[in-house]
Symmetry: C2
Subunit: 346 residues, 2 copies
């Protein structure tokens, strides 16, 4: 634009251009630069265009850190996760991160020991002016949740809920899913269906188990057996299936896919049973592995896409609108029938 802009664009310069430098080059004030880059600021369209054009030319971009110092917003969303070995979480994490990126948000990954209270980690995240956190695991104290709400920060349990707190959450309708599985199994003629949960107190596991048990009860089939020691892992599912399998159920519903796969391997290799000839297996999540020919696992699919969209919508709300439990999204999933369930004659 102006003449002395030339040396500013010198490729050799180290530090990135600051707003004041750009302002000087254009003969205007730093405030104007700032306004050109903020949405609703009072600035003439002509001036804004001029600034943006010059910025593009000279490679100026507002420094996010400095900005967040005053705005107290960072454009960063924290994601708290444990157990990333579970493919389901990965199949969430990847698209979620990418969607957030598209919306101009960054993703700060936070890995916590499985099942633990995450309170102790949160102040640290607050330090980074994280705008919101998506919690895929663990529990939060009411006290800490309140502190975050007070600070205008959204805490969003994803794919599970923390029943005691008034937090919005995004999850699949787990209870309906459990019920759907029960109906399917009964319809296919099963008489001795069993259930393997993740943890006895995990809200997710409890909901799926409850839906399953109620669905069976409604159809007059008793729950043949139950174990809550699957821990949402392959190994846990393997061990649980080994134990439960000896009692000869004719079907096992696992509260998630990775446990179901472990369970199938236990039934096949540990007990020498054949799935689905000797026993049917159903999972929950519909991770990619469930479709592999070795497993062909029938499973209740979580609506991953809609869940991510719902989360993104909540995360990109303008402040001011408080977001409470009423904004929760409880989305319906669908039963995906493959080959791990067989009709049993009677």
């Amino acid at each position: 634009m102006t003449d002395d802009s030339a040396d500013e664009s010198d490729a050799g310069r180290r530090a990135p251009l600051t707003g004041r430098e750009l302002a000087k080059a254009l003969g205007i004030s730093q405030s104007t630069i700032s306004r050109a880059f903020s949405e609703g600021a009072t600035i003439s369209p002509k001036m804004r265009a001029k600034v943006l054009e010059a910025a593009r030319e000279l490679g100026y971009q507002p420094n996010v850190i400095a900005r967040s110092l005053t705005t107290r917003r960072s454009g960063i969303v924290g994601i708290v996760t444990a157990n990333m070995t579970n493919p389901f979480y990965v199949s969430i994490l990847q698209p979620l991160a990418r969607r957030l990126q598209q919306m101009g948000l960054q993703t700060l990954l936070f890995s916590v020991p499985s099942g633990q209270q995450i309170d102790s980690q949160l102040p640290l995240l607050l330090q980074y002016n994280v705008d919101a956190i998506v919690v895929m695991t663990g529990t939060i104290s009411a006290e800490m949740a309140r502190r975050w709400a007070d600070a205008g920060r959204l805490v969003l349990p994803f794919s599970y809920t923390i029943p005691e707190l008034d937090l919005p959450s995004v999850s699949c309708d787990n209870e309906a899913g459990g019920r759907a599985v029960a109906q399917h199994l009964v319809q296919m003629g099963h008489k001795r269906p069993a259930f393997v949960g993740g943890h006895p107190h995990s809200a997710t596991s409890v909901a799926r188990g409850r839906g399953f048990a109620q669905g069976l009860e409604e159809l007059g089939v008793p729950l043949f057996g139950r174990l809550d020691t699957g821990e949402y892992t392959y190994e846990g599912g393997y061990a649980a299936a080994l134990e439960l399998g000896r009692t000869r159920p004719d079907a096992i519903f696992f509260a998630d896919d990775i446990m179901a796969l472990g369970g199938m391997d236990a039934l096949r290799f540990g007990l020498g049973l054949s799935v689905p000839q000797d026993i049917s297996v159903v999972g929950f999540d519909n991770i990619p592995l469930a479709g592999w020919p070795t497993y062909e696992l029938t499973t209740f699919a979580q609506p991953v896409e809609p869940m991510i969209e719902a989360a993104v919508r909540l995360l990109t709300r303008r402040d001011g609108e408080a977001v409470t439990a009423e904004h929760s999204a409880l989305l319906p999933g669908t039963l995906v029938q493959r080959k791990s369930v067989r009709a049993r004659g009677r």
Copy 2:
């Protein structure tokens, strides 16, 4: 401590305590607070203790954002990844993130479309004053790499290298791995070994393939077939195995495990072959799935732990010491023998 500290600790306060507030409460200056929290600052041990104690009591923690504005360091490490569906990356990401956390560093997750140049994303990361980036995929232009080096930022290719650039990197000795696989297969009596790579130009795939080919050559066994269309995915491996399998090799070495698993399924379910009776399969990485009883995949294990330690060591270097390609860590892996390779008689 002092009397008016009482109302500072009032649980109802919204914004976190600032250094100036804490200073006032203690009757000292903000500079002193700052010094108490920075490593090599000139401050008496007694004063530091007093400040830290009061800080703990009143819940003060220095604001990371403000700090990074002047220091130009943020304590954040960016991790650039594509293809998180590959369990290998997950098995790196999780422990790496946790280790970094232990060192007081945060992890900013950056997901880019697979195989793409990541240049366009990097300025954004620089905006966040990210201290370093760990690149698990993609390529960087020399220009951009230089810009980062100039800014005192470490760019660390992990588990692969970008041959043209003078960057340190952490990876497994892929060529040695390929050679070890060749030796094992020949020793087990294979005469028609084939190779499936990820991409024709991927440095990793090329190195593994070269080691394999050279190893075979040294032992006087010709490479029976080769395909570089595996794309590091299950589906790619499946397709490649289908194609290659028809030519009847007696063993296939896949450049990574996930392709190998796809390949095994293709051989078994697509071609009706039995592994290892009809054909042997070897992978690379040693992901958890490789040990599952359905697969029992023989594979060359990457030394994940040492690789992560090496990365953390490079990432936590004090500045000033330039880190160049000479600091690269090329770590040895080990062949894990399971049941997907069978000795072939004459």
